[in-house]
Symmetry: C2
C-alpha cells in the first residue's frame, strides 16, 4: 500500500520536486570562511539592525525566504506551504518570520536536523500533489544559541576543544512541482538514537550514531553504495563527530571516507577561525546546502549528493535532569538531473 | 498541478486515511472532569512514578503511543512515521518518547495546535502513498508548563480570571491507509495571525483570530457551511477566546454559534473545577479528540466534525522582548464514513 516506500525508512519520489531557488544570509564570521563566496547576503552587523539576537535571527529567516521567492519572480502569496524550525525555544525565529510572510505554516523542531526535515516533508507534499511551491527553511544564531543553551556571551565562558561554534545563518530553499532541477529524489527519515553521551560540549559525538544509522539505512533501503554519490555530507558533526561517523558506517559495512565530509568542518577554516571542533546549528547545513552545495549541483560540478542534517535533541532541562543527549538525522538525495 | 488542493489553504484527501485507534492518558483533575469516562488511563499520581514533571510528560506520550498501537494489535516496528510535538523547550517530551519507540520521527512545534498539525501531516503522508501506519501524538503537563512559561508551582502565583489551566494529558492517534473509519477527509492549514495581544494570561484572545481565520478559510475553500458539521470544535480558546471566535467568524459571514464549542471549555467543569477561563495545552484538544470525539464518531453519534487545534506561538523570551503573541490554527475534517 505504501507504494512509494522502499526498505523500512526511505521514500523514492515518483515526481521529484525541483529546487527552483535558494537563498542564504550569514553572519560576518561565516562570510570570512572558505565558503563565504557562496552566500547571498553577509551581514556586517550580526544584530541585523534589530534590538536583540532573537529578532535578528527571525529577520534572517524572513529575509532569506523572501529572497528565495523573489529570485524565482514569485510572491509569498504563490507559496502553498512553509516548513521551518529553529533552535530557539518555541521556534520563535520561524514563527515570527511566518507571521510576516503569511504563508500557511508547519512549524518543525528537529534541532540541527531541521534543514533536511523541512526538505523531506516539503518534497513529499509536492510529490504527493498537495502543493506547487513550498519553502523549506531554518536558521541559527551564535549569540541567541549561546545564551539559551550555555552562557550569555558577556559571561566569557571557556570553550573546551570538543565544542562547536553555532553558525549565524539562515537558509531557504524554494521547491516546486516543475523546474529544471536539481531534484530531490530520495528521502530517508531518521530514528532517535542515543549512545549515552552526556557532554553538551561534545554534540558531534552525541549525533554521530544517528548520522551513521541513517546513512546505513539509506544504503540498505536503496541498494546504493557510497560511490553512487559525488559527496556525502552530514550537518554539523564537526571534526570529532565526523571521525566517529566514518568509523560507525565502516562497522556497518560501508567505507565512505573518500567522499564524505561534514558541513560543520567545511564552513570555517578550523585552523584559523578558532572554532575548535567546527560549526554547529540549524543554520550550518542550511547555508552550506543552500549556498555551496546547491550552486555546485546547479553548475553540474556535483551530479548526485546525499545531505544528512543532524540534530541533538537535548534541552538544558533534560541535561539538568541527568538525561543523555539523543540525536536524529534525516537524509535527502539530491540529483542534478532525473 | 497541486491536484489535491482546493481554494488556497485546503487539501481534499483522495484516499482518506482511517483513524484505526486512539489512546489517551490524563492527570487526575482531567479524569474528574465531565469527559473523564472517555479517557483510557487516568493517573492518580501526576508524576507517573518519575522523578520530574518533564519525565512524567514524556512517559505519558510514550505510553499513549504504545497503547494506541497495541489496541490495533500492531508493534512500533509496523509504524512508518511518528509526528509529534509538545510545549516543552526542544520538545523533549516527544523526542525522548521517540527515542524509546524507535519509530522514524518528525518533530513538530505548533504549540497547542500540534494535534491537528500532526493529524494534517500524517493524513497527507498516508494519502500520498508514503506510509501505511502513522502515529500522530502530542502532550502537555500542567506542572511542566507552569514552571517553563509562568512560575514554578511552589511560588504560589495568583491566576487572573482570563487565565487557563494547562491540561495534563497525552493523546495518540493511529492512522492507516486502510480501515473502517472515522476518516480524515479535509485538511486546512493555518497562517500565523497576530492581533497584538500581549497578555500571556489571555491566550484565548491571542489565538481566537487564528481560529476564526482558519474556520473561515475552510468554509470558503470547500464551499461548506456550519450546518455541514455536527460539531465544530477549537482546541483551547477557553471561555473568553470562544466568544471572540464566534464573533470573528460571524463578521466573516458565518454563524457557528449553534454547533460550536471549544475543547478547553468542555474538558473541565468551569463552575466547579477552579480553572478560570478553561483549559489549554497541546494535551487539551489531543485528549478531547482522541477520547471523547473519536468515540462519538466511532459510535456514529457524530457523523462529521471539524477540529481546529489552536496554538499561541509565544516564548518567555519573545514576551520579555515586547513581542505580541501570534497564533496559529490548523483544521481537519473527520467523517464517520466516506
Amino acid at each position: 500500500m505504501a507504494v512509494k516506500k522502499i526498505g523500512t525508512q526511505t521514500i523514492k519520489l515518483k515526481n521529484p520536486p525541483s529546487i527552483l531557488e535558494t537563498a542564504t544570509i550569514t553572519g560576518s564570521k561565516e562570510g570570512e570562511g572558505p565558503l563565504g563566496q557562496y552566500f547571498d547576503v553577509i551581514l556586517s552587523d550580526d544584530l541585523y539592525g534589530e534590538e536583540s539576537w532573537e529578532k535578528a535571527e527571525s529577520k534572517m529567516t524572513r529575509e532569506a525566504v523572501k529572497l528565495a521567492i523573489n529570485k524565482a519572480n514569485l510572491h509569498p502569496d504563490n507559496i502553498d506551504y512553509m516548513f521551518s524550525g529553529d533552535l530557539l525555544n518555541q521556534i520563535i525565529s520561524s514563527s515570527f518570520a511566518a507571521r510576516e510572510l503569511q504563508i500557511p505554516f508547519f512549524g518543525l523542531y528537529g534541532a540541527c536536523s531541521t534543514m533536511t526535515e523541512s526538505l523531506s516533508l516539503s518534497s513529499m507534499i509536492i510529490d504527493g500533489g498537495y502543493a506547487d511551491y513550498v519553502i523549506a527553511a531554518t536558521s541559527s544564531h551564535f549569540a541567541s544559541a549561546e545564551r539559551q543553551y550555555r552562557f550569555p556571551l558577556e559571561y566569557g565562558g571557556q570553550r573546551p576543544p570538543t565544542s562547536q561554534w553555532t553558525v549565524t545563518g539562515a537558509g531557504a530553499a524554494l521547491l516546486s512541482s516543475s523546474g529544471n532541477g536539481p531534484y530531490i529524489t530520495y528521502v530517508t527519515t531518521g530514528r532517535v538514537m542515543d549512545f549515552g553521551v552526556k557532554d553538551a560540549n561534545n554534540m558531534g559525538a552525541a549525533m554521530a550514531p544517528a548520522a551513521a544509522d541513517t546513512i546505513l539505512r539509506h544504503f540498505k533501503d536503496t541498494g546504493f553504495n557510497p560511490n553512487d554519490y559525488d559527496i556525502i555530507i552530514t550537518g554539523d558533526l564537526g571534526k570529532v563527530g565526523k571521525e566517529l561517523a566514518v568509523e560507525l558506517v565502516k562497522k556497518g559495512g560501508y567505507d565512505i571516507s573518500n567522499i564524505y565530509t561534514d558541513c560543520g568542518v567545511e564552513i570555517f577554516d578550523l585552523s584559523e577561525q578558532d572554532v575548535h571542533s567546527g560549526a554547529s546549528g540549524c543554520g550550518c547545513s542550511a547555508v552550506v546546502f543552500c549556498g555551496y552545495l546547491y550552486k555546485q549541483l546547479k553548475a553540474g560540478r556535483f551530479k548526485r549528493i546525499l545531505l544528512i542534517s543532524t540534530g541533538a535533541l537535548l534541552s538544558p532541562t533534560s541535561s539538568q535532569q541527568g538525561e543523555s543527549i539523543p540525536g536524529i538525522a534525516h537524509a535527502v538525495a539530491i540529483e542534478r538531473s532525473v
